[in-house]
Amino acid sequence: MAKRTIVEAINLALQQEMANDPSVLLLGEDIGTDGGVFRVTQGLIEQFGEKRVVDTPLSESAIVGLAIGLAVYGLKPIAEIQFEGFSFAAFEQLSCHASRIRTRTRGRYRCPLVVRIPYGGGIRAPEHHSDSNEAHFVHIPGLRVVVPSTPYEAKGLLVSAIRDPDPVIFMEPKRIYRALREEVPDEEYAIPLDRARIVTEGSDVTLIAWGAMLHVTLQAAKSMADKGISAEVIDIRTLSPLDHDSLIESVKKTKRAVVVHEAPRTCGLGAEIVARINEMALVYLEAPVERVTGFDTIMPLPKLEKLYLPDVGRVVHAIDRVMHF
């Protein structure tokens, strides 16, 4: 079994699904000859040709609008938006059409598309290249929002997203695109959507994260283990619809929880998670649930971005606070 990065795992998933299903096609900016600015689609135009790997004009709303039309016509388009900061231009198409065509036609039309969006900070990128805007998509009913956190997860979740009968926003944490390698089987496999994953079991506190923040959280859990605190770490991985059962079950066991995300705090997904814990497990709690998040500010440029992004120290302090409330 080969060790692969997230970029390589996603590339493999795309390659295998395209080989399996002639109705799968890719569209986006620079995804053809250039292989995508992050090289996620490298080699695919050589293998599948210009008909199935299509460089579009620089036109995010058209990319998503065209993908909706392709999906309505019975194809399986996978659109790439180059950076999350450019996804806003496609918001109207996602919100006014992709998410609601099934509901507004009572199932007469469906929209099985995937929009891949590299997102998040930590790669010293220019303005508008480092935001964490996942909550915007979570707030649109009818969209699935999926965020992988490791290469193995990325391949299996993307395969499920491609096979899903509804629109999926697949947000790729670009900070860890190449930061870690793990065993990713050549063989096909799919990881079910809508289910959270318990990464490490523990008994004293539940730590909830996704994407790049999962790794910051795991490091914090490790340093707490040295102090004798046993943390259960949960990777949400499908942000919408949210698998709250797994979270609630864990919180009932540990009686303490910390949510970690890099997006701004107010109305970030952490707010929803805390609300659900309060609704369903309040009486079990030994301490208020803590959030470690970005701030309600504009994402800073690279010189300050490290300070903005939650780090191990901030997560450790939050765990300390819930342990000693």
Partner: protein, 366 residues
């Protein structure tokens, strides 16, 4: 290094049947008498339907409705040029085109009465439901055209839009991509001169809308939108061009919105009665009647018969719509995804139980 003209463009205008009913037979599309009758009968049905929908709204029996009064030729003649296997994308002011395509009148009323079931397009009909956000249907229509091209299906897509839509980003993005990808799509713009209260000259400084196509690298033509023959001819030609793999066409049909923007609008606030009167003189149905009368295709008795049949169809549709049982409250939830996620299921169950406690009827309805 001389400075010279490297490209020169022109914009064509097509009119076949003028406002006095005078027809240029050389330009007239080769339609049979039966087809001309059909054009006329669909236009009458569209007008009778439109008048009824307006009245129903005034009586509190229908929600907001967008009238097509004055635009019947543009819609009917363009939609009649489609093959059943083609796709059609309406904006929100195309009931004329929709009924030609086979959408039951009842469903149009159902949609504007606030019932999603009016958008369950019949299986045999390849049409998208109404798109209210202006111009957003354009890239999607192009996407369906791409899908057809990808699969090798020999069809074309007709996308309706208005003059206001030409100012939106999706107009540019959709037409630009359609040109680059050489898609089998026809963009049919009804320039009815008004986007709610904003006149056409405030949408663009360009002299015509048709000329916008030039920049996208495909043909654009301006036609008299109140002339059934010009509209049919231009649309038919553009659709054939699309089906033959020759790419998109943009058609600007110059017409006029005789009515208010919608039933929630009062157009007398922003435009003159004289302007409206001037356009009433260019009425698309009146001029077709004049032409048909000279060809012995129309007389009073025929006119009355067609109107009576239209009224009967519309009244039947109103009765059907008003007698349709309300939708099940579960419909709010059930189509969000193919399978109902656990969280949504629990929201639905909690809501049903609350309704049950309030009304003593958990099954509930809208």
């Amino acid at each position: 290094m001389p400075r010279k003209t490297i490209k020169d463009f022109n914009v064509e205008w097509l009119q076949v049947l003028d406002e006095h009913g005078v027809c240029d037979e050389k330009l007239r599309p080769p339609l049979s008498d039966a087809q001309i009758h059909s054009l006329y009968e669909w236009m009458i049905l569209a007008r009778v339907f439109d008048e009824k929908a307006y009245k129903l709204q005034r009586e509190g029996r229908l929600g907001t409705y967008a009238s097509i009064l004055g635009q019947e030729a543009a819609q009917i003649a363009s939609a009649l040029a489609l093959e059943p296997s083609d796709w059609m994308f309406p904006s929100f002011r195309e009931p004329g085109a929709s009924i030609v395509r086979g959408l039951p009148l009842k469903m149009i009323l159902q949609y504007w009465s606030g019932d999603e079931r009016g958008s369950i397009i019949p299986q045999e009909q390849n049409d998208f439901p109404i798109s209210i956000p202006v111009a957003t249907q354009i890239p999607i229509g192009a996407g369906v055209a791409w899908g057809a091209k990808y699969k090798g299906d020999n069809i074309a897509v007709l996308v309706y839009l208005g003059d206001g839509a030409t100012s939106k980003g999706d107009f540019h993005e959709g037409l630009n991509a359609a040109g680059v990808l050489s898609l089998p799509v026809v963009f049919f713009c009804q320039n009815n001169h008004w986007a709610i209260s904003v006149p056409r000259h405030r949408q663009t400084a360009a002299e015509t809308l048709a000329q916008k196509a030039i920049a996208y690298g495909f043909p654009g033509i301006q036609v008299d939108g109140n002339d059934v023959f010009a509209v049919y001819s231009a649309t038919d030609q553009a659709l054939k061009r699309a089906r033959a793999g020759q790419g998109p066409t943009f058609i600007e049909a110059v017409t006029y919105r005789i009515g208010d923007h919608t039933t929630a609008d009062d157009a007398s606030r922003y435009r003159s009665a004289e302007e409206v009167a001037e356009w009433k003189n260019k009425d698309p149905i009146d001029r077709l009647i004049k032409y048909m009368a000279t060809k012995k295709l129309w007389d009073e008795a025929y006119g009355q018969k067609v109107a009576a049949q239209a009224r009967e169809r519309v009244e039947t549709a109103v009765t059907e719509q008003e007698n349709t049982p309300p939708a099940d409250v579960r419909d709010i939830f059930l189509h969000t995804f193919q399978e109902l996620p656990a969280e949504l299921a629990s929201q639905m169950e909690a809501f049903l139980s609350e309704i049950g406690q309030r009304d003593g009827n958990g099954a509930g309805n809208g």
